[in-house]
Every structure is written in C-alpha cells, then in structure tokens.
C-alpha cells in the first residue's frame, strides 16, 4: 500500500482534513495545493481545516477490490463535495441501499488500511450519513 514516510507526511490531511485556501480568489482546496490553479504565482495560500460535512455527488459500491481492501468488500466509495466547495474521494459507511446522490455526510475516524500483520496501521477519515440518532 503505502510507505511510512508517505503516510506520515499526510497525517494532518488523513486525520483532520487539513487543506488550503487561496485568499486571493477565495477557492478552497482539499487535498492541499501549493499552487492555486486560478492564481498560480499570485495566490495567497493559507492552511485550512475542513469541518468534513458535505454531500454525496456520486458513488459506487465496490465488490471487487485490490488486495489491500479485499476483506472489506462490499464497501461504498463516493465523491463528496465538502460544504466549503472542494470534492474528495472517500468511503461512506452505510448499507449499499442507503447511499444516494445528494445525501449529507459527516466524517468519522477509522482504519484505512494496514501494512499486513506486522506493518503500521493507516488511520484516517471516512464518512457516515449525517442523519441518525447520533
């Protein structure tokens, strides 16, 4: 899957959805971009922590996965539009029948994967339907 430094470098993104915001054109980016595609060198990029709530723009349920994710199938994957604007790809934890375009979601902290029995555990953000008792 990943390697230790590659995972560690993005812990703020994986755990806490830390992205960037260009104060010049007011566009938000997740994952963080160093270069604003609108402003390029005129950009004023600052770090920005996303709240994580958003809505499902499109989704699929994966029945056939790569070796890393094999034991977890079926699972839902969606493109989620965060309230601030940027879109990201993430898993949505609910039954395949429950997920739909336009559904509001909120972030949860889960295991994303493991490097086998002996390697490190990758933690990060997945999503659940925003509605519910909790």
């Amino acid at each position: 899957m990943s390697t230790v430094p590659r995972f560690w470098r993005h812990i703020p993104q994986r755990y806490n959805l830390v992205g960037t915001h260009c104060e010049n054109c007011d566009e938000y980016y997740f994952p963080p971009r160093t270069i604003c595609p609108n402003c390029r060198r005129d950009a004023k990029m600052k770090e920005y922590k996303f709240a994580g709530s958003g809505r499902v723009v499109t989704y699929t349920t994966i029945y056939n996965a790569t070796d890393d994710f094999k034991r977890q199938t079926p699972y839902n994957l969606a493109i989620i539009e965060l309230d601030e604007g940027p879109r990201l790809t993430g898993q949505v934890i609910c039954s395949p029948g429950e997920i739909e375009i336009g559904m509001r979601v909120k972030p949860v902290f889960r295991i994303l994967g493991k490097e086998g029995e002996r390697g490190i555990i990758y933690y990060g953000t997945k999503f659940v339907p925003a509605e519910g008792p909790v």
């Binding site: 812990i11 703020p12 755990y15 806490n16 922590k49 034991r71 977890q72 934890i93 949860v108 902290f109 889960r110 295991i111 994303l112 490190i120 555990i121 933690y123 997945k126 519910g132 008792p133 909790v134």
Partner: protein, 345 residues
C-alpha cells in the same frame, strides 16, 4: 484545590449481536442472556479498533466542553486491546484532536481499570498545577474466544474524560484504590484471547477488590452509601454490579442509570467510565456519584464525585450514552465472526 471532570465523551460502535444468537450457534441450552443479565453487546466494525474508538470519544469530549485542544498537557489512554504493543494509542488520539506538541503521553494497561488509573494520573498532574488539562481515556475492542463464556459479554466501546481545575462539570472529591497481585484474568503477550480463573474471578477478584476500595473510600470521605444519589460499579456482566451494590448497601435506584452492560456488554477499560458518563448524562448539579472500577490482576479505583453547575451547560453538546445505545444494527453470528476476525483468513 478542587479538580475534576471538565468534560466527557463516549463512543460505542453501531453493531450489536444478541446473546441468544451466540447461544444458538454454540448449542447452549441455558438462557444465557438471563443468567448474565446481558442481552446484547456491541461489536466493532472492520475498520474500528481501540484507537478509532478513543478518537471518537475524545472528539466528543472536546466538542461537549468546547475545549481548546492546545490546553491539554497530558494524554493517557488505557486499554487491554491497544492495536500496537509498541507505539502509543495516546499520540494518535492527540494528533486526531489537534493538540500542540507540548504534551506528555503514555498508554496504560490494567485490564478493565486502565481508564480510571488514567483519570488518577491526570488528577495528579492537574492538582499539582503541572498541567492545565489532562485527557484520560478508557477504550477497548475486547475479544472473547469463540465458545467461551466471555464471548457473551466481551464488547467494544470507550470513554474520554478531560480533567482540570476550572469550569468543572463534576468535582472529584476524593479517591481510594485497593490493589493486590491476584491473577484472576490475564492475557499473555502475543496471545489473541485472554485466560481466566472461572469462578476465581468472582470472590477473590471482583468482589474483594471493589468492596475493599468502596469501604476504604467511604471511610476516608466519612460518607455512607445513602449520601450518594448514584453509584456506578464496573460491569463485567449484569449480575456482579447488582450483587456488589446490594452487598455494600447501595440500591438499585442508585445504580440503574449507570448500568449499561445489559445493552452493550462489557466494554472493559471503557466499562465503568461509560457507566459514569451515562450517569452524568442525567445527574443534576449538587448530586453525588460513587464510582468503583475493577481491573483484573487486580485492583479497584473508587471515586467520590460531586456534580457541579457546569454540567448543565455542556451535557447536551455531544451525543449521550443513550444516543449511542439507540443507534444499533444487529448482526448474525457469521457476520459477527467476520467482523471480529475470528475466521482465520
């Protein structure tokens, strides 16, 4: 000076399995649910473990109390199912809640009372003015070997307590711990499931230690059971806490709000702390709570807690224990076994 609970948070996974379903699979003729007074227990999702549960509980505590994570000076996470034998749960929790780096952390283990021991450690640092706020966590995704009695009760859940000196939701008036070297229940390094001494875990284990700590604290505080509005005891099943309460002079009314084990099972390091949270969810300012945890190996930490005005402001700002109990999805044994990784893949 006064110190105590500034905020608290819990987390329970959504999945449940009923005791009768486990009994069905193992051909158990007895009514296990009735015997243990545990009807169903929580089951973690594939992608949950003691760390993810700790993070959710800690995030709830931060949210409930509107705490600035930079104020945390210590994180102590207690569990008997830390996913790493070497690499602390506490640092992952810290990163996930946004602490700054001026911080001490370490993981605790003392069977089911690792969480209350973490509370005591935070109390020490806070009371000595060495830190501003401390975070104490009890979290577990405990395992019961298939077919073993523990399978009916071993569950998953966690609670997080933020300990400080000001804006208290509940003051910890005092504590008393009773600790001996008693091998009633253990798990060797590298082994997946624990071993236990059967009935030996009762009298010489649970009852002796909880009773000794309770009596010790009542004497120290010069209080009697009737002085408390609520009592929370460690809940390995639904019978022990009821029996020990009666033994020590506490009533069913006192223990009822905190008795969650019949619906969620034994959340090990989370158990008494989740029971305490369920009590804080309903207790009013001025009321008093008696808490005694138990950890095999063995020891009991007893606390005398007085609820403060601050509880009203914060109580409803994060999900309550009852909200998590209600959010339930039931599994059959096969799916449960897949979830718990009991199938050797």
């Amino acid at each position: 000076m006064a110190a105590g609970i500034v905020s608290y948070g819990v987390y329970l996974p959504r999945y449940r399995i009923r005791a009768e379903e486990i009994a069905r699979v193992w051909g158990e003729k007895e009514d296990m649910a009735k015997n243990l007074n545990v009807f169903e227990k929580s089951v973690p999702d594939f992608d949950e473990d003691a760390v993810t549960i700790a993070v959710e509980a800690a995030r709830n505590a931060i949210k409930r109390g509107s705490i600035d994570p930079a104020r945390l000076g210590a994180i102590y996470a207690g569990s008997e199912s830390h996913p790493y034998a070497v690499k602390p749960t506490g640092t992952i929790v810290g990163e996930a809640i946004g602490v700054d780096h001026e911080l001490t952390a370490a993981d605790f283990e003392f069977a089911c009372k690792a969480g209350t021991a973490a509370v005591q450690a935070c109390l020490g640092l806070v009371s000595a003015n060495l830190i501003d706020l401390g975070l104490a966590i009890g979290t577990d995704t405990s395992q019961g070997a298939p077919g073993d009695a523990l399978e009916y009760t071993a569950a998953a859940g966690g609670a997080a307590y933020i300990i400080g000196r000001e804006n208290l939701a509940a003051e910890i008036e005092g504590f008393y711990s009773f600790t001996t070297d008693t091998p009633d229940f253990w798990r060797r390094e590298g082994m997946p499931y624990p071993e236990h001494g059967g009935r030996f875990t009762g009298e010489p284990g649970y009852f002796k230690h909880v009773a000794s700590a309770t009596r010790g604290l009542l004497k120290k505080m010069r209080t009697i059971p009737e002085d408390y509005d609520y009592a929370v005891f460690h809940q390995p099943n639904g019978k022990f806490p009821v029996r020990v309460a009666r033994m020590l002079g506490f009533s069913m009314d006192q223990i009822e709000p905190g008795l969650v084990v019949p619906w969620i099972g034994n959340t090990y390091s989370g158990s008494s702390l989740i029971g305490l949270a369920a009590t804080l969810d309903v207790a009013r300012p001025g009321e008093r709570i008696f808490l005694a945890s138990f950890g095999s190996g063995a020891g009991s930490d007893a606390f005398s807690i007085r609820v403060c005005d601050g509880i009203e402001d914060i109580r409803d700002r994060a999900p309550r224990v009852r909200d998590y109990i209600k959010d339930a999805v039931y599994l059959d044994y096969a799916v449960y076994a897949k979830h718990k990784g009991k199938l050797r893949l």
